[in-house]
Symmetry: C2
Subunit: 86 residues, 2 copies
């Protein structure tokens, strides 16, 4: 199960709940993370959202996200392809 | 601006749109990430959601999330504290 498997009328309830949890936790710094597919770190096969407090540099979520060289023509074409399917 | 600053009637529109983008992209593996606070990797001060395709091990989002020893009594107390504020 991935994000795309959830009906819109259930999806729309999730972030207002995440917001309530964030507020009630009193946490200043935090991440909302939702993983889809084994390759993308999904370890449990139901759709779920992580609320991850980040109290300091060492604890909580660390991310790495290698930057790649952009190609404006390629990006523009990709954007058009995606938009055409929406 | 953080997640808690967005009204529910706007928050509820976000995930159905993310779902449309995920479907249109044709990506099998991907992450939805929303960061709150500098410590938690928020670099731009408006609320925004990242849709991050994960085409292979090297590209896309890498995460590190150090595990800590759980204490059931402490967790139960924390849960009660948070629930009381919701």
């Amino acid at each position: 199960m991935k994000l795309t498997d959830i009906p819109d009328d259930q999806l729309n309830e999730i972030l207002p709940v995440a917001k309530k949890i964030a507020a009630a936790s009193g946490t200043e710094n935090y991440n909302i993370l939702q993983n889809n597919g084994r390759l993308a770190h999904q370890e449990v096969d139901h759709v779920h959202f992580h609320f991850i407090p980040k109290p300091n540099e060492k604890e909580g979520l660390g991310i790495s996200w290698p930057q790649t060289q952009g190609n404006q023509d390629r990006l523009k074409k990709l954007r058009e392809e995606i938009m055409a399917k929406m």
